[in-house]
């Protein structure tokens, strides 16, 4: 055999190897089951933002803040929560921070950026409102939080924390900007069914923006009483009836897509605080009780009672309210109490309670035919309860009136984080009684006024301030 022919054969192989070396794996690593920022249009982003917003504000925020103010009770999970034993580490585990920042706040930033690019004022307006709501939610929990530099990972890998005062100012500005954008009817394509909350009815979004402006002015009343007047002005353009309520309805029949409290009910992780249940059932005989909670277990042995979330919020297809007409009336009640006295405030208070009862108790939500929840209670019947509790003008003591007002607001706004804000900002109203009187801290302890920053954020962000030493520090607007 010729040596040259062997060499020739080896050469052939080496050529083949050489050919393979130029292999280019360029696009192999592009995920075929996902897409990119450029592709995803605004009408596919908005429903995602709204859905996540509802799931988080109506889920983890509601349950966590609800645990502090006494709406909800941890059945499973760290046992110390019910005694307000928190730590920076469990702040991470619960991940409220991550949920808010990575979902609604971040998605809103992205929609605003895309809407700016495309010049779409409507999407921008809606995203600004949801972003404002989310960032204030974060600020009421932690005080100073990142905003100006948030959600711009490549530019600001370590977002700085803005003072709460600046955040409130910026949010009022943003809400005005949102109103301006939404009011510009000459603008680009309006959202329609992709707007899960109002189906593209921008007038309701504008009302929502005004209602939020009022709410956020009232947050600051400890700092400046001028905020009552500002809130009052905003309220003039806010909701006029329950038909205006800003809420998201979860869809029944879609597997694994449920109202957040339904999931809580099924998993049994949290349930309705039994003190709250007792307040409604025994003390007030409140018609909302059967709608808010179902009592399961042994009547004979009260320690075994399980107060699950009731069908109203705890069904697969329940809705979560972000802000409602009744809250506007409660805000008006508070402003009138403060500025004109209880006689002036009573009609607003009456309207607030009636709106709450109408919203919650008049529709059938149950399955047991004999139950109120199955048929709903007529509005007229509910009026009896309204008459019983709303007659504040005839009550002598202002402190009692304040208690009644905030007790009713507390009940109406079941599982909304606003209750904690009310607790912190209204302690001034009732002299001698610390805090909102109807919230009784468990085990005789003190109600936390602020939450630990999660250690995940502190560890990963050198721009973060040092953590609070205990949860009794106050946010900026909580101190005079």
């Amino acid at each position: 055999m010729q040596k040259s022919s062997i060499c020739c054969k080896i050469l052939i192989f080496l050529t083949v190897i050489g050919g393979l070396q130029s292999c280019n794996f360029g696009d192999v690593n592009v995920n075929p089951n996902a897409t990119t920022n450029e592709v995803v249009s605004l009408d596919k982003r908005l429903p995602s933002l709204e859905y996540d917003f509802a799931s988080i504000v109506g889920g983890s925020v509601a349950v966590r803040v609800g645990n502090i103010v006494g709406y909800s009770f941890y059945k499973q999970g760290p046992v110390g929560f019910n005694k307000y034993i928190f730590s920076p580490a469990d702040a991470s585990n619960i991940n409220l921070w991550g949920d808010l920042y990575a979902q609604p706040i971040n998605q809103a930033f992205q929609i605003i950026a895309k809407a700016d690019e495309e010049g779409n004022n409507f999407y921008k307006g809606i995203a600004l409102i949801i972003q404002s709501y989310s960032i204030i939610t974060a600020s009421t929990i932690w005080g100073d939080v990142p905003f100006a530099e948030a959600s711009q990972a490549s530019q600001f890998p370590f977002p700085k924390f803005d003072p709460q005062e600046a955040i409130y100012a910026k949010v009022q500005e943003n809400l005005d900007l949102a109103i301006a954008n939404l009011s510009n009817e000459t603008g680009k394509v309006k959202p329609s069914v992709d707007d899960l909350i109002f189906k593209g009815d921008v007038s309701k979004w504008i009302k929502t923006a005004y209602a939020l402006k009022a709410r956020y002015y009232l947050h600051l009343v400890k700092k400046d009483v001028a905020n009552y007047a500002k809130a009052d002005v905003a309220l003039a353009n806010a909701f006029k009836s329950n038909a205006d309520n800003c809420l998201l309805v979860f869809e029944e029949g879609v597997p694994d897509v449920n109202a957040p409290l339904y999931n809580e009910k099924v998993s049994g992780d949290t349930q309705v605080d039994s003190e709250f249940g007792t307040l409604l059932r025994t003390t007030l005989k409140d018609p909302r009780e059967k709608f808010y909670t179902i009592v399961k277990g042994s009547i004979v042995n009260p320690s075994q009672i399980r107060a699950l979330y009731g069908a109203f919020y705890g069904s697969k297809g329940s809705y979560y309210p972000f802000i409602t007409y009744e809250e506007c009336e409660f805000m008006r009640t508070e402003i009138l109490m403060k500025t004109s006295g209880k006689a002036a405030a009573e009609p607003a208070f009456r309207a607030a309670i009636q709106a709450s009862l109408d919203r919650i108790c008049t529709k059938s939500i149950g399955t047991i035919p004999t139950d109120d929840v199955a048929v709903g209670i007529p509005s007229s019947v509910l009026g009896i309860y309204v008459n019983k509790v709303a007659n504040i003008d005839s009550v002598a003591e202002d402190s009692t009136v304040w208690k009644t007002i905030f007790q009713q607001k507390f009940i109406a706004m079941f599982m909304q984080a606003e209750a904690w804000n009310d607790y912190r900002r209204t302690e001034q109203y009732v002299a001698g009684i610390k805090g909102l009187p109807i919230i009784k801290p468990r085990d005789g302890g003190l109600l936390p006024r602020k939450y630990y920053y999660p250690s995940t954020e502190l560890n990963a962000n050198p721009a973060a301030p040092p953590n609070i030493p205990d949860p009794y520090q106050r946010v900026w607007w909580d101190s005079n």
């Binding site: 055999m1 062997i6 054969k9 052939i12 192989f13 083949v16 190897i17 393979l20 292999c23 794996f25 192999v28 690593n29 089951n33 996902a34 897409t35 990119t36 920022n37 592709v39 995803v40 596919k44 982003r45 429903p47 995602s48 859905y51 499973q76 046992v79 110390g80 929560f81 928190f86 730590s87 580490a89 469990d90 991470s92 991550g98 920042y101 971040n106 998605q107 992205q110 990142p146 948030a150 959600s151 711009q152 890998p157 977002p159 992709d194 869809e251 029949g253 597997p255 897509v257 099924v266 399961k296 277990g297 042995n301 320690s303 995940t456 954020e457 560890n459 990963a460 962000n461 973060a464």
Partner: protein, 1063 residues
């Protein structure tokens, strides 16, 4: 791809080229026989020395050959015989009688890319397992069959369910989030061993289970990166090299074996038998007895009255023939005694394994054909695993230069699995958690098949409390799997010169996986409060891997003293899989369990493609057959890396020094062999696909209010990834004493794996929760000791083998501590994760008891300090992140003793594990439910164990450890996870086998060459401080996380009888 096929064609083309032969003139012939027996020898190589001209002897030992002149020298060689050289001269007919080589054959081991090497040349540790050790273990899963047989290898089976997954790690873990599995290679083709992660609802198998152990000829374990350098990245965590059986030239042989056996549950937790169902001893439960059956309202706990206080009222109902339980001491009424549901439910399960192979060959070709069928039933009724396989391997010496080998194995396996713990329909949860005053069998003798045991006349379920009746579940909610798999290759070997070889090979591993998971309409997982009533999931995954190799090897003695070996290779691998799943929710009709009967269907689709190309070379320099220096170099190009960093290179260097040869100690009475090994090697590890970019994905897989919606992923991709890089140093020695009667092999390794690819937690305010980064490193240090002694070697032979392994596997410098690794398997109260300066896989929990004098920032659980109690005498809880346990064992030891006398053989393999903590969530749950034996002291009043008051003074406040305690501060629903940590040490008799080989002369009458009978026992005893089931189980299956028991399925012990015959 096309280019790769070219390789094969090029090979064949060259082969055709090479077949042109020079002119040959003299024809010679002859026969080769064994000098001792006089029998002809088949397959002996007869070559014209210094050329490639040659032939092999046929079945009768005969050969014929044409040679060029009568001045040539013939070389006659055969493995195991002394080579004979014969000058041709004028003779044309020869009779060669070969003498068996008396010197011990140098041990040969299959190393990377199927290269056979004398063990003495290796500068790194490698260990092999003999085929009978694998088959003899009677394990379904080839991974389990390796258990306790190789130092440095850790196997953890996930449970005793048929077809359960097993997890294998060689020298610990080198990656936090990427692959830690060794590479499995069969006859040179890397195969897929993915799968086996178990979830909250189901266990699955790792795909190495598709290998029929009967087909295996030998298995070698390459432990460190020096050993696997030529495989590169895919073998970054070691390699399991499997060589299957091939045909041999000569008479056709038929081998047959048949095993029959029985599996039984080997260990169960202890249940209390003093208290019936109920709440804190009250009677309410009994008044509401019927209510507890209604979903959601029932009470499933065992905190009721003592059985001593209860009588049956004698009025039988559909719940119990003996009537309702009443609080009474009326002597006329029958006493209530607990039912032993748990021991009754687990049944002895049958297994059988039948295997037949036919092999043989002629002058130019050989063949091997096998058919096997294995079937195993589960100790849980109606569960099973079955594997059938057909294998063919053929070789053909096309001409003097070209040899072709082709092989194809088809495996079809099926299994029916029960619902796993943590699931409402799980028999395990139901059995361990439900009160034992309820007879799950309803007094029936045949509850598995008799519907009256688990269904009422109206078709509703007769369930205990809120879980499915276990008999209902195993009849209605099984999940099934079907896998079709084909592994095959075509290989050509060309030998243009005696010292030069070229190998080209193309191979595939193709599998089609189908699973079906059903919850029938009445099952508890469809609890009225759950989101659907009945569901079915039908999933399919098709995965196709293609592997091509081209290897050019040259091996030549360049002088009397020096030998040089050179190899250049090319490897291309591509894997693509497509997963499609449809899940239907909400059955319209009962007993029509199909997607078309559901109200809403959700779909899932996942496609993954990976490509990898390597070019490598190896140079080996040998000096006087006692000093060997080997260097390798590999350049890798990988599709999962960012485009700009797609290729990278890494080297290895190893040295083997047989010092006894230099010291001329060959005939030393005491030390017969001594070798020193040294190596240093690097290897990369890759990111998973699609981590280099940030993508947008669908939010919710189903439309919501008619809208499909999209959002950004929450983990930021990294366009600047570098591969993980391990650098490993290894030193070892192998010593043999007393003429090889005793040997010891010791290896120490030290590996540092840098640039860990992890999703680090970033400031969520950036809009992402995680970002993919290179961060931190892992160190692995370990000591492996293998000892072999033959104390007696006469007619009676006694062999002792010992494999010892100890290691430290620690994590450093990662950007974020306490992150989770692997799946949660349905519970997160304690997870497996990492923290700087701590062991890989430590167990982490979110709360603990406050201990007196401990710094609150110290994350450890200081069991040496007393627990602080509050004024009521109850322990005080702290929330945070704490290291509650370490699942890594201190050391493991496999210890085998084998005895043989004439036809008899006996061997026993002891497996000892020291340390390795397990989080026993099962026990914690059972205590909260009041079913665990430890809750029998529920009425006892005493101060909390090992506790002090807040001021440090002795705690004398007595408390009851009752239901309220366990559900809250007792933390026994997992809330205080440290209470679940237990020592998972064990001593077990992993295998014991007694065999008899019938006298060869006697069986010859039956036409047999060999006939043997063997009895094997698996796991016959287990000594462990662990209170639950066998601690050798893993909630998450074949998963990075380990050391958790959450209603894991129990393990088994087996008795098996095997008959094998060779014709």
């Amino acid at each position: 791809m096309v280019k790769n096929l070219l390789i094969v064609f090029a090979t064949l083309y060259c082969a055709a080229f090479a077949s042109a032969q020079g002119s040959q003139t003299i024809t010679i012939s002859g026969v080769v026989i064994d000098k001792k027996t006089g029998e002809p020898i088949i397959g002996v190589t007869i070559v014209e020395k210094g050329t490639t001209n040659g032939t092999v002897s046929d079945v009768d030992g005969k050969f014929g050959l044409k040679v060029s002149s009568n001045s040539v020298v013939l070389a006659i060689s055969y493995v195991g015989y002394v080579t004979v050289e014969q000058p041709l001269g004028s003779q044309t007919n020869f009779s060669f009688s070969l003498e068996e080589e008396t010197k011990n054959l140098e041990e040969v081991i299959v190393t990377a890319v199927s290269i056979k090497r004398e063990k003495r040349q290796l500068g790194y540790a490698a260990q092999d397992i003999k085929a009978d050790e694998l088959v003899g273990s009677q394990e379904t899963n080839i991974v389990n069959a390796m258990n306790a047989k190789v130092a440095g290898v850790q196997i953890l089976s996930s449970s005793g369910s048929p077809g359960a997954a097993a997890r294998i790690r060689i020298r610990g873990n080198s990656s936090l989030t990427q692959n830690n599995d060794p590479l499995f290679v069969i006859d040179g083709i890397p195969i897929d061993n993915s799968g086996g992660e178990s979830t909250r609802t189901l266990e699955s198998s790792n795909r190495a289970i598709d290998i029929n152990p009967n087909d295996i000829e030998s298995m070698s374990i390459l432990k460190g990166p020096a050993a696997t350098a030529l495989y590169g990245i895919r073998a970054a965590n070691g390699a399991v090299i499997i060589t299957t059986k091939k045909g041999k030239a000569g008479k056709t042989t038929v081998s047959f074996s048949s095993s029959w056996g029985i599996d039984m549950v080997n260990k169960l937790p202890e249940l209390q038998t003093k208290y019936a169902g109920g709440n804190n001893g009250d009677t309410v439960y009994f008044d509401q007895r019927v209510n507890r059956i209604s979903p959601g309202t029932g009470n499933s706990r065992s905190w009721g009255p003592s059985y001593d206080e209860l009588r049956y009222n004698g009025v039988g109902d559909k719940w119990d023939d003996r009537g309702r339980m009443v609080l009474s001491n009326d002597p006329n009424l029958a006493r209530v005694t607990p039912y032993d549901n748990i021991n009754r439910f687990f049944v002895p399960a049958l297994r059988r394994d039948n295997y037949i192979s036919v092999s043989g060959g002629g002058e130019k070709s050989t063949y091997f054909l096998s058919v096997g069928n294995f079937k195993q039933e589960g100790i849980v009724p109606n569960t099973n695993y079955e594997r059938s396989s057909v294998k063919f391997t053929g070789t053909n010496q096309v001409n003097k230069l070209l040899k072709l080998t082709s092989s194809a194995t088809y495996t079809y396996s099926t299994s029916d699995r029960m619902r796993k713990g943590g699931n409402w329909s799980s028999p395990i949860v139901s059995l361990f958690r439900s009160p034992n005053d309820f007879d799950i069998a309803n007094g029936k003798r045949d509850p598995i098949t008799n519907k009256d045991a688990y269904l009422f006349a109206d078709g509703t379920q007769r369930q205990n409390a809120i879980f499915d009746n276990p008999y209902f579940s195993v009849n209605n909610n099984l999940a099934s799997e079907k896998i079709h798999r084909v592994i095959g290759f075509l290989q050509s070997d060309i030998q243009p010169l005696p010292w030069l070889g070229i190998m080209a090979r193309i191979g595939t591993d193709f599998n089609h996986f189908n699973d079906r998971q059903n919850y029938s309409k009445q099952s508890a997982e469809n609890h009225a409060e759950q989101s659907f009533v009945g569901s079915i999931r039908n999933g399919q995954t098709i995965r196709a891997d293609l592997n091509t190799d081209l290897l050019i090897s040259a091996d030549k003695d360049i002088s009397k003293d020096f030998n040089i070996g050179l190899r250049i290779g090319h490897n291309y691998w591509q894997s693509s899989s497509n997963q499609l799943e449809a899940t239907g929710y909400g059955y319209t009709f009962s007993n029509y369990e199909d997607l078309t009967n559901t109200q809403s269907i959700e779909t899932f689709n996942r496609d993954v493609t990976r490509k990898l190309m390597g070019i490598y070379s190896e140079a080996k320099l040998g000096f006087r057959n006692y000093l060997f220096l080997t260097g390798t170099f590999r350049r890798e190009e990988a599709s999962t890396l960012p485009r700009k960093n797609q290729s990278f290179t890494y080297p290895s260097l190893s040295l083997s020094f047989v010092f006894t040869d230099v010291l001329k100690l060959d005939n030393n009475q005491w030390l017969s062999f001594g070798k020193l090994r040294l190596s240093v090697a690097q290897v990369g590890n890759l990111p998973n696909p699609y981590l280099t970019n940030t993508f947008y994905t669908r939010n919710l897989s189903v439309p919501f209010q008619g809208q499909t919606m999209y959002r950004s992923e929450l983990t930021q991709g990294n366009p600047n990834f570098k591969p993980e890089l391990s650098t490993s140093y290894e030193i070892g020695t192998e010593l043999r004493f007393f003429k090889n009667r005793a040997s010891i092999d010791v290896t120490y390794y030290d590996t540092k794996s840098e640039n860990q690819i992890i999703p680090i937690q970033v400031a969520a305010s950036t809009g992402y929760n995680f970002a993919q980064r290179n961060s931190g490193f892992i160190t692995n240090k370990g000591l492996e000791v293998v000892v072999g002694i033959t104390p007696i070697k006469r007619d009676f032979v006694w062999d002792v083998n010992l494999n010892f392994f100890t290691y430290q596997n620690k994590v450093f410098d990662v950007a974020t501590n306490y992150q989770q690794i692997g799946g949660s398997a349905g519970f997160t109260q304690g997870y497996s994760g990492y923290a700087n300066g701590n062991n890989y896989g430590i167990l982490i929990g979110a709360s603990r008891y406050q201990r007196y004098g401990q710094d609150p920032n110290d994350p450890a659980i200081r069991k040496d300090l007393p627990i602080v109690v509050d004024s009521a005498g109850y322990p005080v809880i702290q929330n945070g992140t704490y290291i509650i346990g370490n699942p890594n064992p201190d050391w493991t030891l496999g210890f085998r003793n084998g005895f043989s006398y004439k036809g008899f053989s006996l061997s026993a393999l002891l497996d000892i594990r020291k340390g390795g903590q397990v989080f026993n969530l099962t026990r914690l749950n059972m205590m909260a439910m009041g079913t665990h034996k430890l809750t029998e002291n529920r009425d006892e009043l005493k101060p909390f164990d090992n506790s002090v008051n807040k001021d440090g003074s002795a705690n004398i406040t007595s408390i009851k450890q009752d239901r309220t305690f366990y559900e809250n501060l007792g933390g026994d629903f997992g809330n205080v996870p440290e209470r679940g940590i237990e020592d998972g040490s064990w001593i077990r008799l992993r295998e014991v086998a007694f065999g008899y080989s019938f006298n060869e002369k006697k069986v010859k009458v039956l036409g047999m060459q060999n006939l043997s009978l063997k009895f094997t026992g698996r796991n016959l005893f287990l000594i462990t401080p662990y209170s639950g089931i066998d601690p050798e189980t893993n909630a998450a299956g074949n998963d990075p996380s380990f050391g958790r028991d959450a209603y894991n399925s129990p393990n088994t012990k087996s008795y098996v009888m095997t008959l094998s015959a060779l014709f």
